[in-house]
């Protein structure tokens, strides 16, 4: 049953933008883009937060590192996105590893504050470092590409199919991330992460180096965030500290993961698919016209979150979907 759901989901994701393209309502494609970017970030965060169980509120720093690295490579050296992305992800992972290893001495909430600390230190660096543009940041000029493949590889889409291109690019990166995370979940790494989360002392007792695996988990998260940062940079066509170091880049994926079901592979995906369209709809219906400027849409959004948290703390994936959609026959048997 899950297999059928997966196929239907994949088909829907691939076909979704086509009628929109015909109609010209490319906005909905961009919403889809945001869903996939946040789902990807959620999948990444799930590694350190859901599986390894560590409080991490700082991965937006690596989102920024990825965005800046790729932007710098492109602007200063002309390196296109297809090459810039893996380099940026690797740089993000490396910086994360170096920074996180000493931090793993701290446990629980202390560790959480240390992740915030890295973020607080990154902000003035981003705002004052002239080489990366300081407060003005970097602009990414668009070079029109001759064919679709070239545009896709350089993440530079132009013209009426711009939003469509970014949608599929986000979908592709998301799918890749999903596949990788599925592999990690089933691998030894995933086992070690969950062991550390469930009982760190016991895990160490059976020989798992908890510090090392926390670093590995966080570095995977950093790589995913860095990759997403590259995608964002080429979509937004500019990278500046106020935007890429925003706390929202981690709180939104965290919220999506919790809504969907923390620690479960599809949790972030379900969460992103639900939360982002809801916030867009809220904004369109309640944040405009005579109600504009009163933040009513955010009040309702906050209320929805609070209600979901209060009545389904384990996430929406834990709802009895199988019972609702599947084997009705078994009830009669």
């Amino acid at each position: 049953m899950a297999r059928i759901a997966l196929i239907i989901g994949a088909l829907a994701a691939v076909l979704y933008p086509i009628p929109l393209q015909i109609q010209g309502t490319t906005y909905y494609q961009t919403v889809g883009f945001l869903v996939f970017v946040n789902a990807m970030l959620g999948l990444g965060w799930n590694v350190i937060g859901g599986w390894a169980g560590q409080f991490d509120f700082g991965p937006q720093v690596f989102f920024a590192v990825g965005a800046y690295t790729a932007a710098l490579l492109y602007v200063k050296l002309g390196v296109d996105a297809w090459l810039g992305l893996p380099i940026a992800a690797a740089v993000a992972a490396l910086i994360c590893a170096v920074l996180t290893y000493p931090l793993t001495r701290l446990r629980g909430h202390y560790f959480a504050i240390s992740t915030v600390a890295i973020w607080m230190i990154a902000q003035p660096i981003g705002a004052t470092w002239e080489y990366i543009g300081a407060a003005q940041g970097l602009f990414i000029p668009v070079k029109p590409r001759s064919n679709v493949v070239s545009a896709a590889l350089s993440l530079q889409f132009a013209g009426p199919t711009k939003a469509l291109g970014y949608y599929y690019a986000a979908l592709a990166l998301f799918a890749l991330t999903l596949g990788l995370m599925a592999w990690v979940e089933r691998s030894k790494l995933g086992f070690y992460f969950r062991a550390i989360r469930d009982d760190q002392e016991a895990a160490e007792g059976i020989g798992i180096d908890s510090r090392l695996y926390k670093v590995i988990a966080r570095s995977i998260t950093a790589a995913v965030f860095g990759a997403a940062g590259v995608l964002y940079a080429f979509w937004a066509l500019s990278v500046f500290p106020e935007q890429v170091l925003e706390l929202n880049w981690s709180t939104l994926p965290i919220m999506a993961t919790v809504v969907g079901g923390i620690g479960r592979l599809w949790g972030p995906v379900l969460g992103a698919v639900i939360l982002i369209p809801i916030s867009q709809i809220m904004s369109t219906t309640l944040g405009t016209g005579p109600l504009a400027g009163r933040g009513i849409d955010l009040i309702v959004y906050g209320l929805i979150i609070v209600v979901i948290a209060a009545f389904r703390p384990t996430g929406l994936l834990s709802l009895p979907w199988a019972r609702w959609f599947g084997r009705r026959r078994s009830a009669l048997a």
Partner: protein, 290 residues
């Protein structure tokens, strides 16, 4: 040398204000280990309450401390009973998620009700003392801040006695250490948590009523103070009231002294860098129990 001494004094004065903001968090997060993303919004509500009472009824913020504390205590209990209690059983991240929702709700409810304009309070008791200064061997102490610091000390002392010397405080500590064991000796954990939330909310709202004498009031005012509050509680060590006070003073001094010699944009960065350094040497903070 006087420059350095002045910077230290400035830092200490700010430190007491920070301590006021942090102490509410010490109870909810430090003691009861519940992450509250909406802490800044409780502060903001306290500030708005004080502004509103002053603008509408000419009530001096120092006097409005009492009604504000009472109202926010009830509000804290309400938040616990209706929301936090339900998410307590699950993943800690759900608590975070719930309080993020609370943040959106509270901040934007205030935007809807009051707009995002900056509000100011004028001619309060502390402000009338405005430029009054004490100068001791070349170093200036601002009287209003000294008084605020004095208030903070009194509050801290009262809280310390409450937590360490009363049955209620001991019951709170017991609940935070081991909920089941506490239940066995007749403590009702739910009640303890509700009161902790009430107390935490009331304390930070009191901080708001005092801060309103020195800062402008607007819906987004919470974040800049609470980010420091988190660092302070962690630096002081979870569960330690004394630790929070000392950490707050330390943070104030670090902020103040570093900026005299280094780029001011890195003000908070230095605080957090210090946290990392100290944290690596003492992972449980200065006086942390756990």
């Amino acid at each position: 040398m006087t420059e350095l001494a002045q910077a230290v004094v400035n830092g200490l004065q700010m430190g007491f204000l920070y301590a006021l903001v942090a102490v509410g968090l010490t109870i909810i997060w430090g003691l009861m280990e519940m992450i509250n993303f909406a802490h800044g919004e409780f502060l903001m509500l306290g500030m708005f309450g004080a502004w509103w009472l002053h603008a509408g009824y000419r009530l001096d913020p120092l006097l409005s401390i009492v009604p504000i504390a009472l109202v926010m205590y009830a509000f804290g209990v309400l938040v616990y009973r209706q929301l936090m209690r339900r998410v307590q059983g699950g993943d800690p991240f759900t608590q975070i998620f719930a309080t993020i929702g609370l943040l959106f709700l509270l901040q934007n409810a205030v935007v809807a009700g009051f707009t995002s304009d900056y509000r100011f309070v004028n001619d309060t008791f502390l402000q009338k003392l405005g430029g009054a200064r004490l100068t001791v061997s070349g170093v200036t102490f601002a009287v209003p801040l000294l008084l605020a610091a004095g208030l903070a000390l009194v509050l801290f002392l009262a809280l310390y006695l409450l937590i360490e010397r009363t049955e209620f405080g001991l019951a709170l500590q017991a609940t935070s250490e081991d909920r089941d064991a506490a239940r066995l000796v007749g403590i009702r954990p739910q009640r303890m948590f509700a009161m902790a939330w009430g107390l935490g909310a009331a304390l930070v709202a009191i901080a708001g009523a005092i801060l309103v004498n020195f800062f402008s009031v607007y819906p987004q005012v919470g974040l800049q103070f609470t980010v420091l509050a988190y660092a302070i509680v962690a630096l002081g060590g979870f569960g330690s009231i004394l630790g929070t006070l000392l950490a707050a003073l330390l943070v104030g001094v670090i902020q103040s002294v570093t900026v005299v010699y280094l780029p001011p944009a890195f003000k908070d960065a230095f605080v957090f860098a210090s946290y990392l350094l100290i944290g690596l040497l003492r992972p449980q903070g200065l006086f942390g129990r756990f």
